[in-house]
Symmetry: C2
């Protein structure tokens, strides 16, 4: 049924690889059509700012390619990255009038953009979509709580181990190998995500490498050698 609907799609969604990973996968037929009518494709180069914390939140986004980071700042410049988003992730949940964080492109990215107001309207008419977004918000909430445990109670090495396992899981969900994947973000971004400095992250990588948990064959590539042992180190249960 859904395959049929997709086969007959017009426009950019016709062969969008993100579809099965994202909220639009929950819609079909006429509902999907109404959804896509509200949509605009946009893209940004690595380093670009999609929006700034505090700006009026006119848009929400669906990531179809690349990686984005969500950044919160303290007045003196300390930063916390609250999440990395990639293919299939939805961006803009949980905002009132204005964005509660900035969003920056880590790599070149492509997104589907929606006017928040119009999507809200559609939400009221499509309970399926609302349900799907609620599910996602719930999952994100659980992930946020895991991250609180990490930030509040884990050591530097445990944090990095947890991060690598989470990224491995993401790679797997996106159809890649679970034990070898690209890390598109810089050490500094990882540090700001894990509540550490880039130096401490670097030392943790070195230690994990030295002790045979992982190897870094080249560039941004990570290979996980002993996933179970790494999981134990990370405090998985």
């Amino acid at each position: 049924l859904r395959l049929f609907a997709r086969d007959t799609l017009m426009g950019p969604c016709a062969k969008c690889g993100a579809r099965d990973l994202s909220i639009c996968g929950s819609l079909s037929g006429d509902d999907f059509h109404r959804f896509t009518e509200l949509m605009h494709e946009v893209s940004f180069h690595a380093g670009a700012t999609l929006f700034l914390e505090g700006e009026p939140a006119y848009h929400v986004f669906n990531v179809t390619a690349g990686t984005i980071k969500l950044v919160k700042l303290l007045p003196d410049g300390r930063r916390q990255i609250t999440g990395f988003l990639s293919v299939g992730d939805f961006l803009g949940l949980g905002h009132d009038k204005s964005y509660s964080y900035s969003a920056e492109a880590v790599t070149d990215v492509r997104l589907c953009r929606f006017a928040r107001e119009r999507l809200d309207g559609l939400l009221d008419e499509l309970p399926t979509l609302q349900h799907c977004l609620f599910e996602r918000a719930s999952k994100e909430l659980a992930a946020a709580q895991d991250q609180m445990l990490l930030l509040g109670r884990k050591t530097a090495v445990e944090r990095v181990a947890s991060f690598l396992l989470a990224e491995a899981g993401r790679a797997e969900r996106q159809g890649g190998a679970a034990d070898e994947f690209q890390l598109p973000m810089a050490r500094n971004d990882i540090a700001d995500y894990l509540g550490l400095t880039s130096e401490t992250v670097s030392r943790a990588f070195t230690k994990l490498k030295r002790e045979g948990y992982i190897s870094l064959p080249q560039g941004q590539l990570v290979r996980i050698q002993r996933r179970d042992a790494l999981g134990e180190l990370a405090g998985a249960r």
Copy 2:
């Protein structure tokens, strides 16, 4: 309209003070009736465990009196409290098959309990309720991101200052004074919430007291003396 509906209520909800603060406030008439049919009132004494992390998640709850803490543990016993819940808060969002944290009563508590399965069923029929829960999940998500910033990047004193302001806000929302309120939880719980030790929390309290930001007139009572200055200290923007 809603007042009328409430006046004609039967049973325990008739004069529930939590109603305007919680999700049930979004329902009226027949919808509300169907909602309450699924409901059971339960209560626990301070210190009791409502459920444990990992247990099958058969129930969700709505807090009508008292304070609850959500606890996540690492295998070696380190703990992180991911939130304190009080009147009007909803408990059980974001769980799959099993609870992703334990819940313990900080004070004596009263709650409305729902079988998750049956509430899920009702959710599909009452978009209003679903919308209301989605709103709450969104707000919680934003709060979780603030907490990540706190845990990842704030100093001990900044964390305690932020915590006190958040509690002041909660007291105010519940109809109390914003500059004087009870802290029902122990220093140790505050520490586990802020990613610190109880000693460090204690020292931060002492420092805030010494510098005139707050006073602790007696017992669990906190008085905020210089809210703006405290906000600046906490990194409010």
